[in-house]
Structures are given as C-alpha cells and as structure tokens.
C-alpha cells in the first residue's frame, strides 16, 4: 500500500525526499516533514495500539501533544525508547516503530478478552481485587498488574546519546509561536527586550498554519514566515523550534527541552540528542494556545475517530486525509472549517451539529458548498472494531437528554469537536489559581502569582483580531516595563470568519437498554460508567476520583479528558464544574527523557574528581584508589598478585617496623588568622587553646551545639596570630562553614579570618621508627632530634629549595611527621622522600593500612564519630575542659549523656583469634536469644592487627568500660556470622603512647 491517503498538492512537506520506515515489521514510506503519525495515516494505517485496561483497538486521535493513544516503542540509532508520541515524533530514515501493550500483535491481542469481561473490571478494580491474601501481592498480583498495565518497555542498555544543559537569562520568555506568541515576541523584541521565543513543534505558527485567515493580506503561514525571519535577524532574540517549555518553577524559573538530534538523519558526532534549558525570565508570556476537546459518545475510542482540528491539520500541514467518508460531529462552528477542507479535496463530509438550525458565516459557507448538515443531531455510537465502519446517529430532543430517532450512516472516520480548552498548564504551575469561564466551559488563568501573562487562546481569547491586539499590547507593555523603551509596533489588519457560540453539549445520552462504552479518558481507559461507579462508592473530591479511576493521569495528563471528566462529576453530583474544581497540573507538560534531566552529569562527569598532586605517581605505582568524597585516595599499592588484605597488612607492618609514606593532602586545611584567633579556637574546641605556644600543635575536638562530636584534628600555632587547622577529609567543607557561621553570625566581634587552604598544600605523612632518619636526610640543615622537634612540635624547613612545614604529629601511633609543601611541589617532595627513604625500606601505604594502624592504636575516626557519640563515649573526656565554655558544652550536662551505663568505646578480639569481625555487627550476650535480641552495641571499625597478628575491632558498647574482660557475640545477620569475642581495651598497641614521643 503506497500512501493511499496522501493528497498531491497540499501540506508543508518536502515531497522531494521520500523516507522509508518500519511499523510493526512492515515497511512504509513517507516524506521529510511527516510525523510518524501522519506518515502512517498517509498509508491508511489507523490501528496503532491497544488500550491500557481493556486492550481495545486504538488509533490516532490528535495531531500533537493532544494525542492520548498513539504511544509507540521506537528503535533509533541502536537504542529503544518507549512511549514515544507518534503524533510528535518526526519521521527519519530507518526508524522502526512498534505497538505497545499488545500480545501477540496489535491486530490480534489476547488481552482484549478484558474488553468482553469489562463488567469485571470496574473502577478501582485493582484496589478491590488484589487486597488479600497479603502473601499473593509480591509474587502473583504485582507481576500480573505490571504485565497487564504495560506501556512501553524501558531499555536496559546504557544510553549512549549525549544530552546537554544550558542556562539562559532573558527579559521575556514567550512560550508558543501562534498568533499570540508571534505578536508579543515581535512587539517586545522591537522594543529592545531580550526575548526567547519557544515553539514546541518543528514549524512555527500554531493555528496560523491551518486556519483560513489573512494578516496584512498575507496568509497565516506567510505572515508567520515573515515575522520569524525578522526575529531571527535580531541580535536580542533567541528563536527556538522543537523546544517545549514544560515546567514553571519559583521566581520565574522555567525549564524547556529542545529536541536537537532525533530529527537529523546524520546527526553530527557532538550534537546532543536533547538539550535542557534553565531559563530565568523577568517576564513569561504564555501563548500556549488551546486544545480541542472531544464529545463523548458510544465506542468513541474506535480507530478512525479524530479531533476535528487534528483532521484539518493532517490535511493542511501533512497533506493527508484521515478518511474519505468523513462524518463531522460538532457543537460549534470550528469543525465546519474541517468539513470545508475535506470538500476542497473533493470529498463529501456529513456534518452533525448538536445545535438547532441557525446560520453563521461558516454554516452558510458549508451550505453553499452543498455540504450535508444535520442540525440537532449527535452520534449515538460508532460501529466497527478495528476501524470505524459506520455510525449510529440520532436526532436529539429539545433538552438533548434523549434521541428521538436513529439511523446508521456509513463513514470511515468521525471528526469530533466539543469546543476548545485553553492550555493553562504553565499558568497553573506558576501558582495561578485558575477560574472557570462559563463562556467557554473551561478553566482560564486568573490572578498571576509570578511574572506571567497569558495571551490568546491560552486565556480563552479565540478570535485572531483580539489575540493580535492583545499580543502586540502585552509584548510592548512588558518590554517597556523592563527596558523603559517606547518603540511600539503597529498592529496588522487581519481577516477571519466570525464564529457563532458553541453549544454546551458534551456527552451523547445512552439509548434505552443500550450499554455502549463511552470513554472520557482514552489513555487510561476510563469510561463514563467508571466515574459513575466511583461517585456511587462515595468518592467526592475530584482528586480522589482521579486516583480511584485513574482519570486524567498518565502521560497525556488528561489534556483531552479533564473537562469532560469534570462535567460528568458535576452532572452526577448536581453541581457545576467550578464547584467540582480541577486536579493539579504538574510538570512536565509532556514526558521528557531521563537523559535530558541528567544531562552531562553521567560517569566521570557525575561529580568533580579531586586528585592530589601525587596522583600520577600513585597511578604509576599500581595504586588501587578509593573514593573519599570527591577525592581519589590510594587504598593500597598492589604488588604482584596481592589482594587488598595482603597488601594493607604488608604496608601497615612496614610502618610499624620501618617507615611508610602516606598521601595526606586530602585532609582539610584551614588557615586561621587574627588577634582573636586563640580565643576563637578556645570556643570552637573542647580543650584549652589560649596557652598553646608558637611552634606547637595540639589535638582538638569540636562539638556541635547538641554535644555530639563534629570533627577532630590538629591545629598548629604558626605565629602569634596565625594558626593552621586540619580537619578530617570528610568534614572539611562542613567545618569551614561551621567556623564561618560562628565568626559571621554569633561572634562577629572576634577579629578572625578563616580560609580554606586544602588545595594549596600537598601533604605527606612519614610514619614509623625510621621516619626521623628519613627526615634528617631530607632536611640536613635542621636539628630534628627529639629535643629540638618533640612530639607535637612544628618547624619550617627547606626541602631542597622548597619551603616546607614540618609537623610532628601522628595518626598511626608511630613516631611520625607530616610535611606540607605548596601543591605544585607535592610530587617533587614525594619523589624525594621515596628516593631518600629507600635505604630505610620506605614503602607507600594507602587508606586501608592507615585505618589498620589507627584502629589498633584505638584512635577514633569517622566510624566512631558517627554523629551519635559525645566525647565521653569515645575516650576523649580528657580533652573536655572543665574551666572554660565552648560550643556544645552545656549539652554535655544532659542526663542521658551522663548515665553510668552510657555506651563507650572498647576493643574486641575474637576468641578464636582468627575470624575477622564484620563492621556493623551487633553485640549481644546470647547469640541464640529470642528475637528481638537485646543489643549492647555495635562494631564500628575492624582490622587485622599487624602488631598482634590477629583480628581486632573497635566497638561502641553499653557500659563499655565495665564490660572489659567479658565475652559477647558479634552477630551480623547481613553476613550471616556470629562470632564470640572478648571485650578488651580500645588501645591494643602501645597503651602509654611511648612511640609517638620516642
């Protein structure tokens, strides 16, 4: 079948470029400029999917975002995408589309049995049926529902496409390029405002492309082209097609997605597929137009039934006839335009008008063309299963509550028009509380909450003349407010047909003893009867009715169903629509891909990577890295076939026996200066700081105001008013904010400045009994003896011409130094240390060995300072000053913090001296006790003690100090282990701390 429904000389397509594509395995052709929908319709294909619940055959209904049915699975460029709207997707060479929600095929779908069992699928069916037994839910009900309620299938492959984000600021964002958008963008741009004009479709112009109007004696299309050309030449205007403003957030932040790639046959390598724009506009002009709403009648979901404006768009834009024997069913004048377009193509439509016989410009035009019009008539039901074959129509009584007669007319399509619904989604998202407009039976924007203005059909203005007037005026006024310019543009003359008022008829009554399904919401398969059931069962709030019946949910957000649903609820409840209210409009307006939201923030670009100056050396020396926040730190340096356990044991043992070197650049470093620096530290830390001499470091603990330990580290007095603070790697940023808070907010009178210098200094720790020997060779001019540079001492030195800061501090519990040089010299320092240390058997050690060393020393770190512990819990009571006040001190008086059986830090050794204890294990008295087994504490850190050659752990245990010597069980349900342990002191190595002072 070769484009049987294509019209020769109509439409805006490129007829010189034929495009071939596949649908459900069959090959078809279309033209450049087609959508998937228009190309299929050109080939006479209507049946594209099965409905959500009843698996009824469904065809195209709209021609753009209004489409509820035609959601297809698309294969393109090797990836598969579900739920693509066929009426929006532009045809490109080689795409393959498939129907969804049907098995084995769209022509014959087993699930359609639901349609004949529909008595058993009432509203809330799933809620009612799948209630019990509870055990059925997981294995039986959920998989069944998932299968039955299928839309498309998400790909499990990695998305190889490129997506981008962009930030833009402008004076005026115009959403929609119909007459309202074009006129306001033009007026504002001419008045010097920075304007962004966004059009969702590939073609600019909106209704101007399909309506028989003239502006300045030009056709709508010609005028559009003229304005767009001018706008594109202006430097203060960004004009974007294929770009939908889909979200409206606080402070006039709008979000737009641009389809940059899918329509290109040979997409250049670095062209993204889609681009997300964050646009902060001073003013937003909403010219989003309106969407035609259907009239509800029997079997109104049969393929071949269209919105009348969609049928017109298929003729005028795509040169496609949706049928050759059309029945036009309307309650207003606009569908007459569709009838006249059919007539122009030599096709005789029949018009059913629910209104009584009267005359208007369009009615008269139709009559003069000899188009058959049946007034006071409506469609009772469509006939045909996979495609409309005929319609049962009837004459309405005066009250339009019953049919006076009925007859069958043959037709191959029904074009229905129930008047127009303004697209108010963005206005509503912006906080505008909508109001109901009786004149058009729809909601329109009311008072703006943000700087937004609706113009044209989106606020219920349906004539071109008013829209252009309003557009030019709004564009000028808004731009004048921002630019203070006064260049107004003249408003063009326009011509259009005058339309008579519509009729409020929205739903055909059922004839007696007939029970045709009349659908309100096609996408979610919600029929009139479903909503009636929900109301009968006591659901009153429209939000509840929505959730119970799924009315207006899913990807089309009820664009065609909302108002008819509200009408129905209002009728049954004997209310009027504004009393029923409407459900909430939420972004996005149409579905967007996850890729667009994520943008470039994938893989390595997910977050910045911080590397130390010595990173390349680590890489060359087989470091296996671990993430520490954004930092990459060597976890261990692999030698031969070593694993983590073996390597870290070797590295740690080398520190205890000889000397090791560790990259400590990642520690937070904060420079603190000012005459009140000592006083400030005295308030920040729990211990005393006023008497720390110059050239000395001190270990400090800082608390939050609630008494919980926040961080620890050493701070060194470099000179009278200058301190160098170190923090843990993890808390560096928080500690800086914390210090800034107290200096700027709480104690602004203190003369102190803080500055992060983490990135400015490269740090290396030399640790082990031989570290002094290495240091002495690194700094031959310095006296580094225990007397000249004692534990917690600080001196500055010259490392082969590079200024170095030498701190005698220790994390490993060994004699140790930390040397800092300016970052650029980090690698130089490291290599010198390795070179000089060679004779002392120096080896680099990673974070795993570092942990081992600190754990067996009983030195607390992140796992112990976990946001739940106070200094007393982790053996830091010696650092809590009794004399002075400090941040969080008052909280330490809390009763709970002073309980005698408060949790305390202890050490654990497995009684078999062999089995490693998983971190996170719970400590219990009886491993076989009945659940819930009373928990005494948990294992915070575990290592293999290289000093004692057996496993050792730190734990936080209730009444810990009195537990020493007792036996407990460390149980880990996660690892399925249960290990007998002995509680010992947390200091497993060098109790008296002799080594650090040696």
């Amino acid at each position: 079948m070769s484009q049987s429904h294509r019209i020769i000389n109509e439409g805006l397509l490129n007829r010189n470029k034929e495009i071939s594509f596949k649908f459900n395995g069959k090959k078809y052709t279309g033209y450049e400029g087609d959508t998937l929908a228009s190309a299929l319709l050109a080939n006479g294909v209507h049946l594209v999917g099965r409905s959500f619940k009843y698996h009824r055959p469904r065809g195209f209904f709209g021609a753009g975002v209004d489409e509820p049915n035609a959601k297809l699975q698309i294969q393109l460029n090797g990836h598969s995408e579900p739920n693509v709207n066929a009426t929006e997707f532009e045809l490109v060479e080689g795409i393959e589309a498939k129907s969804q929600n049907c098995w084995p095929s769209v022509e014959f779908d087993v699930g359609a049995i639901n349609n004949f069992l529909n008595k058993f699928f009432p509203a809330g069916f799933y809620y009612k049926t799948f209630m019990w037994p509870k055990s059925f839910w997981y294995k039986i009900y959920e998989p069944f529902i998932r299968k039955a309620a299928g839309l498309g299938v998400a790909s499990t492959e990695k998305d190889k496409e490129r997506y981008e984000h962009k930030y833009e600021y402008c004076d005026l964002l115009v959403a929609g390029s119909g007459p309202a958008g074009l006129s306001s963008a033009y007026a504002a741009a001419k008045n010097g405002a920075k304007v962004i004009l966004a059009e969702d479709k590939p073609r600019f112009g909106g209704s101007l492309l399909t309506d028989e109007v003239t502006i300045d004696n030009l056709s709508g299309k010609a005028w559009t082209d003229k304005i767009i050309t001018e706008l594109k030449e202006m430097p203060n205007v960004i004009v974007k097609n294929r770009s939908q403003v889909f979200g409206y957030y606080d402070h006039n932040m709008t979000v737009m997605f641009e389809r940059t790639g899918d329509h290109l046959e040979n997409k250049p390598k670095y062209t993204p597929r889609q681009r997300l724009w964050y646009i902060r506009a001073k003013e937003v002009l909403l010219s989003t137009g309106s969407i035609e709403r259907p009239i509800v009648f029997g079997n109104n979901d049969t393929p071949g039934i269209f919105l009348s404006a969609a049928a017109k768009e298929y003729i005028k834009v795509y040169g496609v006839l949706v049928g050759k024997k059309p029945l036009i069913f309307t309650n207003n004048d606009s569908a007459y335009e569709t009838a006249l377009e059919f007539k122009k193509q030599g096709i005789d439509p029949i018009i059913l008008d629910t209104r009584e016989e009267h005359s208007s410009e369009l009615i008269d035009a139709a009559k003069s063309q000899n188009i058959q019009i049946k007034f006071s008539h409506a469609v009772i039901t469509a006939n045909g299963y996979r495609k409309v074959k005929s319609a049962l129509i009837g004459r309405l009584n005066k009250e339009k509550t019953e049919f006076e007669n009925s007859e069958t007319v043959e037709c191959d399509c029904i074009c229905v028009s129930g008047f127009w619904t303004p697209t108010v989604h963005l206005a509503s998202q912006s906080g505008n509380k909508l109001k109901f407009d009786d004149r058009i039976d729809a909601f329109v924007p009311n008072k703006s909450k943000q700087n937004e203005t609706s113009v044209g059909a989106s606020k219920g203005t349906f004539t071109l003349k008013e829209t252009l007037n309003d557009g030019f005026r709004s564009g000028f006024d808004l731009s004048k407010k921002i630019t203070n310019n006064n260049n107004s543009s003249s408003i063009p003359n326009s011509n259009e047909t005058k339309k008579n008022p519509h009729d409020k008829f929205w739903c055909s009554p059922l004839p007696k003893n007939k029970n045709f399904k009349r659908f309100v919401d096609f996408q979610n398969d919600v029929a009139v009867s479903d909503i009636e059931v929900a109301l009968r069962e006591g659901y009153r709030s429209i939000e509840h009715v929505k959730r119970y019946t799924t009315l207006g949910m899913a990807t089309d957000q009820g664009r065609t169903s909302n108002l008819n649903g509200l009408q129905l609820v209002a009728n049954v409840e004997k209310k009027i629509v504004p009393q029923v209210g409407h459900t909430t409009f939420r972004p996005p307006f149409t579905p967007i891909t996850i890729g667009t939201i994520v943008g470039r923030e994938v893989d390595m670009e997910y977050m910045p990577t911080r590397k130390t100056p010595m990173h390349t050396w680590h890489e060359k020396n087989n470091a296996v890295f671990v993430d520490a926040g954004a930092w990459k730190r060597p976890r261990y340096y692999k030698q031969g076939n070593e694993n983590l356990f073996e390597a870290s044991k070797r590295e740690a043992r080398n520190v205890r026996e000889h000397v090791g070197i560790c990259d400590v650049t990642t520690l937070g470093k904060i420079d603190i200066k000012g005459p009140d620096a000592a006083e400030f530290l005295n308030r920040v830390y729990t211990n005393a700081w006023l008497k720390l001499p110059v050239g000395k470091a001190r270990y400090g603990v800082m608390l939050r105001e609630d008494g919980i330990v926040m961080d620890d580290g050493t701070t060194t007095r470099i000179s009278e008013n200058h301190y160098h603070m170190t923090t843990t790697t993890a808390q560096a940023a928080n500690v800086l904010s914390h210090l800034e808070y107290y200096l700027q907010v709480v104690w602004p009178e203190l003369k102190v400045n803080v500055l992060s210098t983490t990135e400015q200094w490269a740090g290396a720790a030399l640790a082990g009994p031989k570290s002094r020997d290495v240091l002495a060779k690194l700094f031959p001019d310095l006296d580094v003896s225990n007397e000249a540079l004692p534990f917690m001492g600080y001196i500055e030195g010259n490392l082969f011409g590079v200024k170095a800061k030498i701190f005698r501090i220790s994390f490993s519990g060994e004699l140790a130094y930390e040397i800092n040089v300016e970052s650029g010299y980090g690698l130089f320092m490291w290599e010198k240390m390795m070179e000089i240390g060679k004779e002392f058997k120096i080896q680099p050690y990673g974070t795993e060995a570092l942990s081992t060393l600190r754990i067996e020393m009983g030195h607390v770190a992140g796992p112990e300072l976990d946001g739940r512990t106070i200094p007393y819990d982790v053996s830091l009571e010696g650092l809590v000053s009794k004399k002075k006040d400090f941040i969080g001190k008052r909280s330490l008086q809390k009763e709970a913090f002073n309980n005698s059986d408060r949790q305390k830090i202890v050490g654990l050794v497995p009684t078999d001296k062999k089995t490693s204890i998983p971190e996170g294990s719970h400590l219990v008295v009886d491993k076989n006790a009945k659940l819930p087994n009373p928990k005494l504490g948990h294992v915070s850190s575990s290592c293999w003690s290289v000093e004692n050659n057996n496993p050792f752990s730190l734990a936080i245990v209730k009444d810990g100090k009195n537990m020493i010597g007792k036996k407990l069980f460390a149980v880990s349900p996660l690892k399925n282990t249960s290990i007998e342990v002995e509680v010992i002191s947390s200091h497993y190595v060098d109790h008296e701390g002799k080594r650090v002072r040696s």
Binding site: Y249, N252, M253, E705, E740, P748, R890
Partner: protein, 89 residues
C-alpha cells in the same frame, strides 16, 4: 529554584547557596548559667511559621558570607536580604 540576592554579590541562583536555618535564633552568651529548658529551646526547638520568616543563608559557592533572608514560606517570595549586621525592616 529560588533567585536570591546576596547582599554582597547580587542575584544568584539558589544552587550557589546553602540554607542556614532560622535567622532569629540567638545563641546564649558564653559562660552563663542556662537552665535546661532554655538550652533545650536553643538547641532543638524551632518555629515553622507559615508566611514571613527571617532565615539565614550561606553563599557557599560564592563569597562565603552568611546573610539574612526574609522569605514567605508558602509562596517563596523573598522580601528582603540583608548583611548580618543590618536589620530586616
């Protein structure tokens, strides 16, 4: 996403800032006897007003200054931002 006027840098996107809690809380003076009740109130109890509220924000990805913001907690409208040593009028 809010658009916040840093008193030092001008209008910037919310992404550059960190929220810093209730701006009306005063830390008790150091070295004072404070009742359990008063201390508990300072550490834990915060009002969650509907409507106008003075709060602190920190320009972490900018000038690193803390400042005051008067914001409507319902509509997110920001009425005023000031430096710490200035009063919200």
């Amino acid at each position: 996403m809010l658009y916040i006027k840093c008193p030092f840098c001008g209008y910037r996107s919310q992404k550059e800032f960190a929220y810093g809690g209730d701006g009306t809380v005063k830390r008790p003076e150091l070295n004072q006897d404070i009742s359990d009740e008063k201390w508990n109130e300072f550490v834990y109890l915060r009002k969650s007003p509907r409507g106008k509220h003075v709060e602190l924000w920190h320009h972490v990805a900018g000038c690193r200054q803390w400042f005051k913001v008067q914001r409507d907690t319902v509509t997110h409208e920001i009425f005023q931002t000031t430096k710490m040593n200035e009063e919200i009028k």
